[in-house]
């Protein structure tokens, strides 16, 4: 059948995700889905306009990519610039302050996603009335839960403020260290609510876990497919969100790459460009572009790591892995469960750090032998984030390459969209509820399509239906 006989359905913009994107579905005359794609339609240009800027400005500049997890870019760039000034062996105070900042961010970002963006789908159903299937609906029906979400996010933001100076777009991490320690007053303020936060993280995890196990039959195949998984892990294989070496495993759990130094990432990772998206498609070179793509983010991290070094999260990881008998879990909707395991892990880490006296240390910055090229990798809430820079003798950046988490999840999200479209939309009359199924699959990845946010409750979804000649047959907006 030629393309001329197909009709096109567009979901634009995709809602309850960070940033702007659209989905296009090509249907034949029997409404069978022939093709489904997630298009990222934004262009940012940070890699270009960071060129010429002094290197010490970069951690503050590039974090402007995002308003939800700017700390990831801030820390990735700072880690990169540590190497430029030869200060990658941070003082204990500097490294622990940065880790505290990062766990605070992971905590608030995961909570934002679970409570504000995803919970409407889980609590009301994928095809519930969109008038209630939103964060306001959650606040009305489950006020206690909504308050927990807000307070947990606030707590994470307070940690960022105490470590970076501001809740959003702070300046804490500087090349070779940090510009402040944690005062006793700041520490005591944060310690006041820590036990409540641990308790709420446990209960949020239980919601995600129970939802997955109770609805397993329905959600196990939902947008699911076998894939490789990639993340950084510590040298001993432990989950580490702040630092480590690259590990990728296949759908069976066999290691494809392991303990790859971030400086060598280009020997193993390449990016493919496709004409219909502004976003590139990274893949593992030895496997090739066709099959070398990997999932990243919470699901990938829990799959790739050997263990977690906080007791409650480790217990939960073991329970999670038992579901697939120790093999990698390839269920798209299991992202939510793993995201909540990481939320618990983050708050356990925060508690541990708040009791660490190193945070009151005064040795903040180290410097050593100067370098001209640098790579840093960090596990952002949404997945593996690479920052690669070259800096000339004038201290100016001459090259920047950023591979953000959502870029790695580009192919997996497209697979998920394709799978849901074929399983749920083929051959039936397309309704808003069915289209939301596609968004549910995308949301599982918590994509950050850019830093833009959207008006709460507005749900600006436009669906256009074209006939096989490309004429607009019907359009619905809400």
């Amino acid at each position: 059948m030629s393309d001329a006989k197909l009709k096109r359905v567009i979901i634009e913009p995709v809602t309850r995700v960070e940033g702007h994107g659209k989905v296009s579905l090509l249907l034949d005359e029997q409404n069978q889905v022939k093709q489904a794609r997630l298009h990222i339609v934004e262009f940012r240009g940070f890699e270009r306009f960071v060129q010429g800027r002094p290197f010490w400005e970069v951690p503050v500049l590039v974090q402007r990519l995002c308003g939800i997890c700017p700390v990831s870019h801030h820390l990735a760039a700072a880690k990169a610039m540590d190497r430029i000034v030869g200060g990658e062996n941070l003082t204990p105070t500097a490294e622990k302050m940065r880790r505290l900042m990062h766990y605070g961010q992971t905590f608030q970002s995961h909570v934002l996603h679970f409570f504000h963006l995803v919970s409407p789908d889980l609590l009301f159903g994928f095809d519930a009335d969109p008038a209630i299937r939103n964060v306001i609906g959650v606040a009305q029906k489950f006020p206690e839960l909504a308050v927990q979400g807000v307070m947990m996010r606030k707590y994470g933001q307070e940690i960022i403020k105490a470590t970076a100076g501001k809740k959003i777009h702070g300046t804490g991490a500087i090349p070779g260290g940090i510009n402040k320690n944690l005062s006793i007053a700041e520490r005591d303020e944060l310690l006041k609510d820590i036990d409540q936060m641990v308790e709420w993280a446990r209960s949020a995890l239980k919601i995600a876990k129970d939802y997955t196990t109770e609805n397993l039959e329905k959600i196990a195949p939902f947008g699911s497919f076998d894939s490789n998984h990639l993340s950084i892990v510590r040298k001993d294989g432990c989950l580490d969100l702040y630092d480590g070496n690259l590990r990728a495993i296949d759908a069976e759990g066999n290691k494809i790459i392991d303990q790859v130094d971030p400086q060598d990432y280009m020997e193993h990772i390449a990016e493919e460009v496709k004409p219909w998206s502004y976003m590139k498609f990274p893949f593992i070179k030895s496997v090739g572009p066709e099959n070398g793509w990997c999932r990243v983010g919470p699901l990938a991290r829990i799959n790739t790591c050997d263990f977690i070094d906080t007791p409650e999260a480790e217990k939960e990881r073991q329970e999670f892995m038992a579901l697939t008998k120790g093999k990698p879990n390839n269920i798209t909707m299991a992202y939510h469960w793993t995201r909540m395991i990481e939320t618990l892990h983050s708050i356990e880490k925060i508690k541990e750090l708040l009791h660490d006296k190193d945070l009151q240390g005064t040795d903040l910055v180290v410097k050593g032998e100067r370098r001209e090229e640098t790579v840093a990798i960090i596990e952002a809430p949404r997945g593996t984030l690479y920052h690669h820079y070259k800096v000339d003798k004038n201290d100016q950046v001459t090259m920047a390459n950023l591979i953000v988490s959502t870029t790695s999840n580009n192919e997996p999200m497209n697979r998920a969209v394709q799978k849901v479209a074929q399983d749920h939309l083929s051959g039936v009359e397309i309704t808003e509820g069915l289209l939301n199924h596609i968004e549910v699959a995308i949301r599982a990845y918590d994509p950050c399509l850019s830093c833009a946010t959207h008006a709460m409750g507005k749900m600006p979804l436009i669906i256009s239906l074209f006939d096989h000649k490309g004429n607009l047959v019907d359009q619905r907006a809400k």
Binding site: G52, R53, P54, W56, E57, P59, V60, L61, R64, V85, A164, G165, K166, H169, G170, T171, G172, I174, P175, N179, K180, V365, D392, N394, D395, Q396
Partner: protein
């Protein structure tokens, strides 16, 4: 005995030393007149016009106008404040001032002045001029995107350092601070210890690799608005 002169600023009677400027007399009396190009240690030249006051009904730069017996000076009138806002506003749109990623943020006199005058966002359209940076010097970085052409560096280098590293070139919108060399700052005899490296009110001339060493909350204008040091003198008296 030193000769004194009496005059008023916004109705407050001031006794000044003869030969002082209005700015000097006001500073001593604890009255802050907004300014950007003026700096205590440098010769005043009245170029930014932010310190313009009405002297017996005529606009004059307070930093260059000498005090005179019986004059009536108006500074904090709504009309004068509006002119000051316009001037600062124009300085913002004529450069490329991205405060959110500028290391001078919190220590920047232009930013602090905007806050003091209540400017939340520029009302004039941005010009987005194409301006360059000069990273050639081992210890000093020039970012002309942030230059407000106050002339402090020109004067400090000439009068205090005795080097003449900086000079103005071009006219009107094309005016720039140039260096006294074929091309770059590295070709001059400027040193990081020069006064000229210390006087920039904005982030146009910065010392390299300092960056964001001072945390948010600890920066100069995080704690109190620009001019508070002068106004404290008045509060101390009363």
């Amino acid at each position: 005995m030193e000769k004194t002169v009496k005059f008023t600023i916004d109705g407050v009677e001031i006794t000044a030393k003869a030969g002082q400027t209005i700015m000097q007399a006001a500073d001593e009396a604890g009255i802050y007149i907004p300014r950007l190009c003026y700096m205590n240690e440098l010769k005043p030249h009245g170029s930014c016009r932010v310190c313009t006051v009405m002297v017996n009904g005529n606009p004059q730069a307070a930093c260059t106008q000498p005090v005179a017996e019986g004059t009536v000076v108006k500074s904090e009138t709504e009309k004068i404040q509006a002119s000051r806002r316009d001037i600062v506003d124009m300085l913002f749109v004529e450069g490329n001032h991205f405060c959110m990623v500028c290391e001078k943020s919190g220590n920047c006199e232009l930013q602090a002045m905007a806050y003091r005058l209540g400017i939340c966002a520029p009302k004039y359209p941005y010009l987005f001029p194409k301006l360059d940076v000069d990273g050639s010097h081992p210890d000093i970085f020039i970012d002309r995107n942030r230059c407000i052409l106050c002339g402090r560096c020109v004067e400090a280098s000439q009068d205090i350092d005795g080097k003449g590293v900086f000079e103005f070139v071009g006219r009107g919108q094309e005016k720039r601070v140039a260096v006294n060399a074929e091309a770059k700052l590295a070709d001059t005899n400027m040193e990081v210890t020069d006064k000229a490296a210390d006087v920039c009110p904005v982030g146009a001339i910065i010392k390299k690799r300092v960056g964001f060493a001072v945390p948010v909350g600890e920066r100069l204008y995080d704690k109190e608005p620009i001019g508070s040091d002068i106004e404290r003198k008045k509060n101390g008296k009363t």
